[in-house]
């Protein structure tokens, strides 16, 4: 048993922390919040030079093929921002979905450019009914003469406005799992992506209006293989999203502790009041619960153990943790916390966004129960 980071993980953490402090301090994060696209080109270029965009992509496809645990160290640091950008959408969920679902030729065509940051993937699964299961996939393309024609809408697609390439889950049969994945050029005629306005971070509507996709763009070359591939990618990818959330919780915790020390009311630091202390205790319990649930899931994945139940548990716990951590932080910070320039609000909005993204806590708890075969 050893719950410490390895030496190389500590080094990655130091590098990533320094990068975030230099390139993405609070004012940068706050400045990006209103952008239609989550991608800041200069940040993206520097991250690609560090090899972060291909961290999970095997070396034979141009990435560095690190373990999930190694990648989690990076994502935890990115989450401290919370740094916007399609890091997870492209480098984790997109790349893993291609790895799991594509033919060898497709992998070689797509993944090296993803690792270099030239192609940016977004995975379009959910539809207006926001189901996270295969039954929710109703977008059915017409197939004729070697072409799929897409008409319809995908909703709550993360980072679609910065994507160059979409992986779209479509219905290709009547069976509940008859889902296929199409690789669609995001700039093709008839494709439109729009960031949803409001208290939500880069969740997008993607519409398809007579979009023609060659049959060669069917990932894996066979229909009905899509959901299995996506589910495998999800199992491996979710703990990285959880790590990003843990980083967010950690930053919110540190902000709250600092505020409890610095903010003077009634002549004393507000953290001297036990009511204020209780908020931070609640916060750190959520933070640590999310942290250790996430790391146990990562460890199971990296060591080839059955991980499904742990992954579902981690996402359920992390989703709730981020939301609750931000709530507690707002109680500690009062007016200060709602000043946009202070930076807490970016976390709060992200916590609401990621609460549902790729499955809300209740959904994951139910899948956990199924995985445990109760």
């Amino acid at each position: 048993m050893d719950l410490a980071l390895t030496e190389s993980q500590e080094m990655l953490k130091t590098t990533a922390r320094a990068f975030m402090e230099r390139e993405a301090p609070t004012e940068v994060i706050v400045g990006l919040q209103q952008a239609e696209s989550s991608l800041a080109p200069e940040l993206w270029r520097k991250a690609s030079q560090l090899g972060w965009l291909g961290i999970l992509i095997p070396a034979e496809y141009g990435g560095s093929g690190e373990t999930s645990s190694d990648a989690a160290v990076l994502y935890e640091e990115l989450g401290r921002g919370p740094l916007p950008g399609p890091f997870f959408s492209s480098g984790v969920l997109g790349a893993l979905t291609v790895m799991e679902g594509a033919t060898e030729a497709q992998r070689r065509q797509i993944l090296p450019a993803v690792a270099r940051g030239e192609r940016i993937l977004a995975v379009a699964v959910t539809e207006p009914d926001r189901s996270w299961g295969p039954a929710g996939i109703t977008l059915a393309p017409q197939r004729n003469n070697g072409t799929y024609t897409l008409n319809g809408t995908k909703l709550f697609v993360s980072d679609a406005t910065s994507a160059t390439d979409l992986v779209v889950a479509v219905r290709t049969g009547d069976g509940p799992g008859d889902v296929s994945l199409l690789h669609v050029d995001a700039r093709a005629r008839g494709v439109a992506a729009r960031r949803l306005p409001g208290f939500v971070s880069w969740q997008c509507e993607v519409t398809f209006d007579g979009v023609e996709v060659p049959v060669a763009a069917l990932l894996g070359g066979r229909e009905q293989q899509g959901w299995t591939a996506f589910a495998r990618a999800l199992e491996r990818g979710l703990p990285l999203l959880c790590a990003y959330i843990v980083g967010g919780c950690q930053a919110v915790f540190e902000k709250s502790v600092a505020h409890s020390q610095n903010r003077i009311q009634f002549g004393v630091p507000v953290g001297r009041f036990q009511r204020v202390q209780d908020h931070i205790v609640r916060l750190v319990n959520h933070l640590d619960g999310a942290r250790w649930a996430t790391w146990e899931a990562l460890w199971k994945l990296d060591t080839g153990r059955p991980a499904a139940a742990s992954v579902h548990l981690a996402k359920a716990v992390a989703s709730e943790a981020y939301l609750e951590a931000c709530n507690a932080a707002h109680e500690v910070h009062a007016g200060m916390g709602v000043l946009v320039e202070y930076g807490l609000a970016a976390h709060t909005q992200m916590s609401r966004t990621l609460f549902h993204y790729l499955g809300d806590p209740r959904w994951h708890k139910r899948r956990m129960a199924d995985a445990l075969e109760w």
Binding site: S69, Q261, G289, W292, V317, K365, M368
Partner: protein
């Protein structure tokens, strides 16, 4: 990271040796819940006897130093032993002996060599069972406010008078340790002293308290407690550990451990039985475990149990890898206690009134759910209330203060 202990072939050999020994040595009916006070005493004696046999092999306190009668084994061997006795739903020691576990750690850190040689071997070999005496009627959460129990130096002895409450379990003890006030006019934290004494000295009277908890000798969360009265109890000055008026310093060690600083590995004993109960019990002709609302509740309960397990595992690693600890001990204690209390409501909601009865026909097997309904509540206070744990966490995190309080020394 590695969340599991990986064993060498030699260690697996040790596991086989332990398993064979336990199969031959553990009384076959040890898992029973005692049916009567007589049966409770009989079972306790069986377990004490098992404890002495374990102690003779150095397996009762496996990581304790061999020179004082402990096993002198490394943590991997200790984990194997814990895992193997866990198969019998037992821990080490196999009876209520938190006084031995916590007291021995304190003596190891703060005692003189002569005191270690005198006090530790009887504990580590299972010859004595030890209770801790801390709380008084006027000093519970404010443990440093102990005033009622006093110790006055008289030649080579101290004379102890006073009263301690919420002590021990059923069936008596051989040794007790306590903090007493040795300087009524002294400054707070500098007026207490720590004594290890014989439980059967003249002037010591033990009187059971009537509490809402039950559970007898199982594990460490016994619901049976006593009041102990001291009337001119004369103890040798040798019983004083850590020096006069240094008792609060000595207490920092066992309080840290009691607050969860040592961590824990091992499974949640209620969970497995709860799931099985829900799989075997039907409502409207359908097993509880197949009903959507019950599955949702089970998932919430399971997650609380899992987070508690992970916090325990983390603290266990922090302790044995000798890592820097901060708020993690009281965090485990706080989380475990509030989760247990919350679970009483969640289980009652899920199972219904059958959770409240020990009836052999209509209740849960051995009344294990009724026991949880009581113990989930009773367990909130021993070793520091949930509020005390939060105060500890806040000080160590540095909420509202830039100097962080350090965790207690446990090595």
């Amino acid at each position: 990271m590695d969340f599991e202990v990986t064993y060498t072939e030699a260690q697996q050999g040790f596991r086989r040796e332990v398993r064979a020994w336990l199969d031959a040595s553990v009384p076959p009916d040890v898992k029973r819940i005692p049916a009567s006070p007589e049966d409770n005493l009989r079972r306790y004696r069986q377990l004490r006897d098992l404890g002495r046999k374990l102690g003779a092999k150095g397996w009762l306190y496996p990581t304790a130093p061999a020179k004082y009668g402990g096993g002198g084994l490394d943590v991997d061997h200790a984990i194997i032993l814990e895992e193997e006795v866990d198969r019998y739903d037992l821990s080490l020691p196999p009876y209520y002996d938190s006084g031995g576990r916590l007291g021995a750690a304190s003596i190891l850190v703060w005692g003189t060599e002569a005191q270690r040689e005198a006090f530790l071997p009887p504990i580590y070999t299972g010859r004595v069972r030890t209770w801790q005496l801390l709380t008084e009627p006027g000093a519970g959460s404010d443990l440093a406010g102990v005033r009622m129990t006093t110790a006055v130096r008289d030649g080579d002895e101290y004379v102890i008078n006073g009263q301690k409450i919420f002590v021990g379990s059923d069936n008596g003890a051989d040794r007790i340790w306590m903090i007493a006030c040795t300087d009524p006019n002294g400054a707070r934290h500098e007026n207490l002293s720590w004594f290890m004494i014989d439980a059967n000295l003249p002037g010591v009277t033990v009187q059971p308290m009537e509490l809402m908890g039950t559970g007898g000798e199982g594990g460490t969360d016994s619901g049976v407690k006593n009041t102990v009265f001291f009337d001119d109890v004369r103890v040798p000055a040798f019983a004083l550990v850590g020096g006069e008026n240094k008792g609060w310093t000595v207490a920092s060690t066992h309080l840290e451990l009691e607050h969860g600083g040592g961590g824990r590995i091992g499974k949640n004993r209620v969970w497995d039985r709860l799931l099985r109960y829900c799989q075997e019990t039907k409502r409207d002709g359908v097993p509880l475990s197949q009903q959507a609302d019950v599955r949702d509740s089970l998932a919430d309960i399971y997650i609380k149990a899992e987070i508690t397990r992970l916090f325990g595992l983390r603290n266990f690693w922090l302790t044995y890898a000798r890592r820097k600890r901060s708020y993690e001990g009281p965090q485990l204690s706080y989380f475990r206690k509030t989760a247990g209390l919350w679970m009483t409501g969640a289980i009652l909601d899920m199972v219904g009134p059958a959770a409240l009865t020990t009836d052999t026909v209509w209740g849960s097997p051995d009344g294990f759910l009724e026991l949880q309904q009581r113990n989930g509540i009773v367990s909130v206070h021993p070793g520091g209330t949930t509020d005390i744990q939060r105060v500890q966490m806040a000080r160590r995190i540095g909420i509202g203060r830039t100097t962080r309080e350090a965790a207690g020394t446990v090595h």
